[in-house]
Subunit: 248 residues, 2 copies
DNA sequence: AATTTACCTTGACCCAGATCAAACCGGAAA
DNA sequence: TTTCCGGTTTGATCTGGGTCAAGGTAAATT
């Protein structure tokens, strides 16, 4: 397959799969027209790097399909994943010229990009993009803080169970099923990527997955396809104090 | 001292110490007048809880003076601090009815509160509060992600050095001095609070502080007053890959 | 069919940081 | 001035997860 084959797709915003969840969710037709004028699509193959931390970044973007990761690396090579970007998630920061993290496509990836300057102008002159972006950023901040609890205080087993729960949950919403009873999905991450996300080594990830399988919390077909016979059981293993979110 | 002694202060916004950094930073005089109408001050003593996670929260607020913490607690008591709120930082989330975290005053604390409903209306009808809040939230998200790297990948010694560096830095900016060469400050946190922030036990915090002192990286007078003879040395110990932020 | 390559698993051993326990320190209360 | 008492230090020991090392498996390449 040719190296630089970014086959350019072009959707109408009207039938875009992330129209109602992305940064454009609140836009009226007028705003949408303006966005449509400055948008363009980019595709990346699984494994490709989208941007390196510190690189100049002249666009912001929404993930349309596929999964990307945000990682930080220390000089000595220690890596920590700080974000998992799913369809509708936003990449980049208005008002900032360079990327703060490495962005990598874990699966084949399509992004809807906006040149930075016109996007910033749009934010300045219309309200809905900025409002939606604030909402999304607050959600991400909550997710980051939940992850801080995981990284700081959970055991390896709890970490794995939590990650599987998150992936299972988003997979269920994608298929429009409630995350109850049995459900199954493909892991979009290698053991090493999971380790980078969870603050573990890949060996520990592997061992804990084996342990959860041995204990019947999960079942595996091959190395990547996971079945959860009992979602509540998995949540117990994750030790998630997720009562919050019910109260009102 | 009487239990409920919240001596009500009243500033003019004009000479408010956080006027140029808080959520109101970008407001024009018209917006400021509207904010002034719905604001009120609240004081808390060191150690008091501002709100419990899950409680109904009918206001949002800015920290004016003092320090507060945001913590998450698991059913079995494991605690992780997920935010340190310094003067000008914002508390609460527009559009959410209940608190997501425990908020506690670590020092005596004064907050500038806004009733939630009118504040949300203001955000809807004027642009600058929302714009500033987005900016602040993006900064907090960056800070949270930096903390994820610390929690997931740094050693105990590096964690302590990082925390001291952060406190030293904000203390220096407060005193308007560049964080270079020797500087000293009081720790606003107990060993246990530091442990909760760093994902460690209080014993490990104590041991690592002793070790940094033994190695001459820091000096202590009493248990709380810290002197940093060489800030760059401390930053080396923190293993901070903080080149980012220079590039433009 | 054989070889390479990228992932993944499992075992043996080790160590940073947790746990358990005791003592210390300095300010406030009695 | 002694007694508390919350915060802190330090020691002894334990252990979860890291490190090092050896295979295993399956898809891709030769």
């Amino acid at each position: 397959m040719p190296m630089q084959d970014m086959h350019i797709v072009h959707h109408e915003c009207g039938d875009c799969p992330i129209r109602h969840r992305a940064v454009c969710a609140r836009c009226d037709s007028d705003e949408l027209t303006r966005l449509e004028q400055i948008k363009y699509y980019r595709s990346y193959q699984a494994g490709q790097t989208v941007i390196w931390s510190g690189d100049r970044m002249d666009f912001v973007a929404s993930v349309v399909t596929g999964i990307a990761t945000l990682t930080q690396t220390m000089e000595d090579g220690r890596r920590q994943m700080v974000g998992l970007l799913l369809p509708s998630d936003f990449v980049g920061r208005p008002g900032r010229a360079t990327a703060a993290y490495d962005v990598t496509a874990t699966t084949d990836l399509v992004m809807c990009c906006f040149r930075k300057k016109p996007f910033e102008d749009l934010m300045q002159t219309t309200p809905h993009v900025g409002q939606r972006l604030l909402e999304m950023t607050l959600d991400e901040l909550d997710a980051a803080r939940e992850w801080m609890l995981l990284l700081g205080r959970k055991t390896a087993r709890e970490k794995i169970a939590s990650l599987l729960g998150i992936i299972a949950r988003r997979d269920a919403t994608l298929k429009l099923k409630a995350p109850k009873g049995a459900l199954s999905f493909d892991l979009p991450l290698t053991r090493e990527e999971m380790a980078d996300y969870l603050g573990l080594t890949l060996e520990t990830v592997s061992r804990q997955i084996s342990a959860l399988k041995r204990d019947g919390v999960i079942a595996l077909e091959g190395k990547r396809h996971v079945t959860i016979p009992d979602f509540d059981r998995l949540m117990e293993e994750a030790a998630d104090d997720s009562d919050g979110g019910f109260l009102d």
